[in-house]
Assembly symmetry: C2
Homo-oligomer: 268 residues x 2
């Protein structure tokens, strides 16, 4: 179904979901603005509605050329370029946006015996949170815990940085870091903090048992009170005097070392 | 020396360096906008002039409280907030900016027998180029080659993402990817491409000899003609069906595996 103009209520919803976290939570939906990620969401049957930037008289065929097969039950609205651009979160939007169903995960849905779980403790930059979700996807992490002190995982910039990974990685948003760690420890998951100095060299650590990687804020690392509850600490060996690693980069180095060790069957 | 207002020529230079790559190249200087990175540049004796955001009547003492000791020979200019904000590259600038001497490196300055060299082939996003320079610093890379087809390494967003690392890592900007690879191979450095599929698993590769890691563009990977000149290809083992890795994240996983292997003395 393709409509040459969206009813005001549809555009209002698109804007509301793009701008307000409370709306995304209440309605269980996010706005996806990258064509490639929309195509993935379509394959995963998670798209509720599609908005196309008008101007070249889009047809159902041209939309499918852009996004791949679209279930005829999914409404496609054509917006005039000004309205479309006004609803987008970037100054140079792509040719389509989609409302995609998305809900945070619950602890009961997570497999702890496979990849590590990633727990974020105050990661404020949306690009970092998105990149971490993408790393979690690629490295086979079981879930990301991104509680209230982190950048909102449904924010447009996070969705953009995470690419399609937000549709594959369970993300728990309701628990504080303290509550997440308590919950994980109750499930016999060891909670290991990533620290700039001190702790065990990350590649000498034995990652064979279920673990959660705890990553602190860009500016201050892991909160001291949280640090006291951890089951261990690891560091990535850097050149002396070097700038510290970006938190998403540190997450990648650690998560892929865990994956490497588990595939090879041993540390170091 | 602290001046309560900068002469027009000083502000003009600050703006020119912030906005024009040709000016940065011709004058051998970049604009650093992060307080922490300015403090590092001061310790490295690379600061030519400092610009402080006025409003609270800055003094030499308040500037040193912000940035650490400042050589009295370095001029400190106080700009009215509107002029300061207009010269800054972000909408929420920090309290100071500095003009810092910076020149691209030449091949003759690079040590090939230590960390790997990173060669970028079409990395267009300034944040990725900056993060790669920061990774190169932390992982002990010998140099980054960022030729004309990549984001300009002196651009404000790259400088911001690289934090202080741009002052420690030699960056060669004059050579195309083709010329960089030919030059490296002439120095007996093996050029190994990072690919999404095919090649050798990155942790099974023997990284003990001098190597250059070749990283392709975010959208298209390594150019085919470049690929044909490489000495080998490696891939990072990801979960099947996962989103591909961000190029800076892939760089980190590879560079730290090289560092890990060299410290431990063997592959896998």
């Amino acid at each position: 179904m393709i409509e040459l103009a969206a009813a005001n209520s549809n555009v209002t919803r698109l804007r509301r979901l793009g701008q307000r976290r409370a709306a995304r939570e209440a309605e269980g939906a996010i706005v996806v603005e990258a064509v490639k990620a929309i195509a993935e969401a379509l394959r995963a049957r998670r798209v509720e509605s599609i908005f196309v930037r008008g101007g070249n008289h889009p047809t159902a065929e041209s939309v499918e050329a852009l996004l791949g097969p679209v279930d005829p039950a999914i409404p496609i609205y054509v917006l005039d370029p000004k309205t479309f651009d006004g609803a987008a979160s970037t100054v140079t939007p792509q040719a389509a946006m989609a409302v995609v169903s998305w809900r945070p995960a619950t602890v009961a849905e997570i497999a702890f015996d496979q990849g590590p779980v990633i727990v974020l403790d105050g990661v404020a930059d949306p690009g970092n949170v998105g990149t971490i979700v993408r790393v979690a996807d690629a490295a086979g992490a079981g879930a990301v815990f991104a509680g209230p002190r982190n950048a909102d995982v449904t924010a447009p910039k996070v969705v953009r940085s995470a690419a399609g990974s937000l549709l594959r990685v369970p993300v728990v948003t309701s628990l504080t870091t303290e509550a997440a760690i308590a919950e994980l420890q109750a499930q016999s998951v060891r909670c290991i903090g990533a620290v700039a100095r001190g702790g065990v060299a990350y590649d000498a650590f034995d990652w064979s048992l279920p673990v959660a990687l705890v990553l602190g804020s860009e500016a201050h690392g892991i909160d001291d009170a949280i640090g006291a509850t951890l089951d261990g600490e690891v560091f990535v060996d850097m050149v002396p005097g070097a700038e510290s690693l970006n938190v998403a980069v540190a997450c990648a180095v650690l998560a892929f070392e865990i994956r490497r060790q588990r595939a090879r069957g041993s540390a170091a």
